[in-house]
């Protein structure tokens, strides 16, 4: 008997853990992809990567002090972005160099701490995610973070767009740009924390960069870009989770892989369409 398409789609949803995993992945995809547009437009891909890596020592320290890991991760994320700014201005080195130094240093610290303390947390899951191990409680935390990110971006949209487009103009006209910068760094750190369980801190950068990059290829204005970015990220999360269920492959890897495939798919299609148009002219 042939299995219908609908049954293929319905079967995984018969399990509680898959429902929670899917819901959480969708929430995380929305959270990260809203910020993705600004990460891409402001050239923060590497900075986002640095913040995500810096979250590791924050988690380790939080576990050691027995405080919620989300607090440690958040402090480490914001702290690392401040440290990068400080290193950049004090040592008078280029931004990407400062990021490289801080990012690897923080990540190394995290690895040392975790290997030394040997906590009951699986480092592999922190690094690469484990959506099927997500508890409903984790899901609620991700949902709360997602709501906060969505609300903040909605309220401050014009300031965020002005600042990420032209920081000097924004400062002169009177937008508190330093404050806004750190608000964005906090949102980025929160988004990364919310993605810990689903894609992990290594692959979260895919959700923070790739949906925005893909959306930029096809958008005329910023609201379109944010919308397209969300759509792409959510599709990647859903398709990725199904692939991981049926092919028994890493779910974080599958989600990130689908997002990457969509990017190249759109890029190739766009290039071919342009060629075709030029030929017909």
């Amino acid at each position: 008997m042939e299995v219908g398409m609908l049954e293929l789609l319905a079967e995984p949803m018969g399990y509680e853990f898959m429902r929670v995993a899917t819901a959480t992945s969708i929430i995380v995809a929305v959270t990260c992809s809203i910020l993705s547009s600004f990460v891409v437009l402001r050239g923060w891909a590497l900075l986002g990567d640095a913040i995500s890596h810096s979250v590791l020592p924050g988690i380790a320290i939080a576990l050691a002090l027995d405080i919620p890991y989300i607090v440690g991760a958040l402090l480490a994320g914001v702290g690392s972005s401040a440290l990068i700014g400080l290193v950049e201005s004090r040592a008078r080195i280029r931004n990407d160099t400062a990021i490289g130094v801080v990012m690897t240093g923080a990540f190394a610290t995290g690895l040392i701490l975790l290997s030394w303390m040997r906590p009951a947390v699986d480092v592999f899951h922190v690094l690469f995610g484990n959506p099927i191990g997500v508890s409903p409680n984790d899901m609620y935390i991700s949902a709360a973070i997602g709501a906060l990110v969505l609300l903040t971006v909605a309220v401050l949209l014009k300031e965020i767009v002005a600042y990420t487009f032209d920081p000097i103009f924004s400062k002169v006209i009177g937008i508190p740009t330093t404050l806004l910068h750190y608000v964005l760094m906090i949102l980025l750190s929160l988004a990364i924390v919310s993605a810990l369980n689903t894609v992990g801190i290594i692959l979260v950068i895919t959700l923070l960069v790739t949906p925005g990059a893909t959306a930029q290829l096809i958008s005329r204005n910023i609201t379109q870009m944010i919308g397209a970015s969300i759509l792409i990220a959510v599709s990647s999360a859903i398709v990725g989770l199904y692939l991981s269920y049926y092919l028994s492959i890493s779910s974080g890897g599958a989600i990130a892989g689908v997002a990457t495939a969509i990017f190249f798919g759109v890029l190739v299609t766009k290039t071919l369409m342009r060629r075709l148009r030029e030929k017909n002219r």
């Binding site: 000097i168 103009f169 006209i173 204005n221």
Partner: protein, 250 residues
């Protein structure tokens, strides 16, 4: 009251002196050109006037106040390379940013505001209002910036290298718009590393080379001696052609 005023303004970055003891002032409704080679400190002067950096010593005043207290009254347009032109925004979207203070928090910008239309008309970009900024020429990008400043409604316009890389017709259009603004009583401060005959339309010229070489009306200031002191003996050859032009209208 002067529109802009620098009094022995010195600016140091660590041990590098960007500007030493610069003193000049201008009343409102004038066009001032800051001229000097790259790295001479022109942008530093603009940044001090904008309140982005504080002088290490000396005094800077804009509209009689400390520059940190003139938010909204000073419009700044950075060098074109400072922004990412692939940002998905239309000309109208960028111009509407000038309204950002007026809208206050919690309200999105309205790109179809009447101030936006007025500004677009003044810089002659009405027809390109819905165009993506990545599809504009350099001159049109610069006029978009200028329209944003007009929409903001500033009294003092600080323009960093607006004519760099523009062709002659675009430069003429831009300077004509600046003249219109001046005639409305606005003060224009423009940095440029090019010496050209068009500088004649400015009321004052400040020659800068990490200090003030000369300040005054262009006809008095743009002498070959002053220019040699500004650009240095070796690079002056590059500007001989311009010097001839300058000499013609002296």
């Amino acid at each position: 009251m002067y529109a802009i005023e620098l009094e022995s303004a010195t600016l140091r970055y660590d041990d590098v002196v960007a500007l030493r003891e610069v003193t000049f002032r201008s009343e409102a409704g004038k066009m001032i050109a800051l001229i000097g080679p790259n790295g001479a400190g022109k942008t530093s002067i603009l940044k001090m006037l904008a309140g982005l950096v504080k002088p290490t010593s000396g005094r800077v005043k804009v509209l009689g106040k400390d520059p940190s207290k003139t938010r909204g009254l000073v419009a700044y347009t950075p060098q074109r390379e400072e922004v990412y032109w692939e940002y998905p925004l239309t000309v109208r979207d960028v111009v509407a940013m000038g309204n950002i203070r007026r809208r206050g928090v919690f309200r999105w910008l309205d790109s179809h505001d009447s101030r936006v239309d007025t500004a677009l008309r003044l810089v002659m970009l009405e027809d390109l209002a819905s165009r993506k900024i990545s599809e504009l020429s350099g001159g049109q990008q610069q006029r978009t910036f200028l329209a944003r400043a007009i929409c903001q409604g500033g009294e003092v316009y600080l323009l960093d290298e607006p004519i760099a890389g523009l062709d002659a017709p675009s430069e003429t259009i831009l300077l004509e718009i600046l003249k219109t603004l001046r005639d409305q009583g606005k003060t224009i401060v423009m940095a440029t590393h090019d010496i050209s005959a068009t500088l004649e339309i400015f009321d004052y010229v400040a020659l800068i080379r990490n200090r003030l070489v000369a300040f005054g009306p262009p006809k008095e200031v743009l002498t070959s001696e002053n220019l040699a002191n500004t650009y240095g003996g070796s690079t002056i050859a590059l500007h001989l052609d311009d010097l001839e032009k300058v000499a013609k209208w002296r």
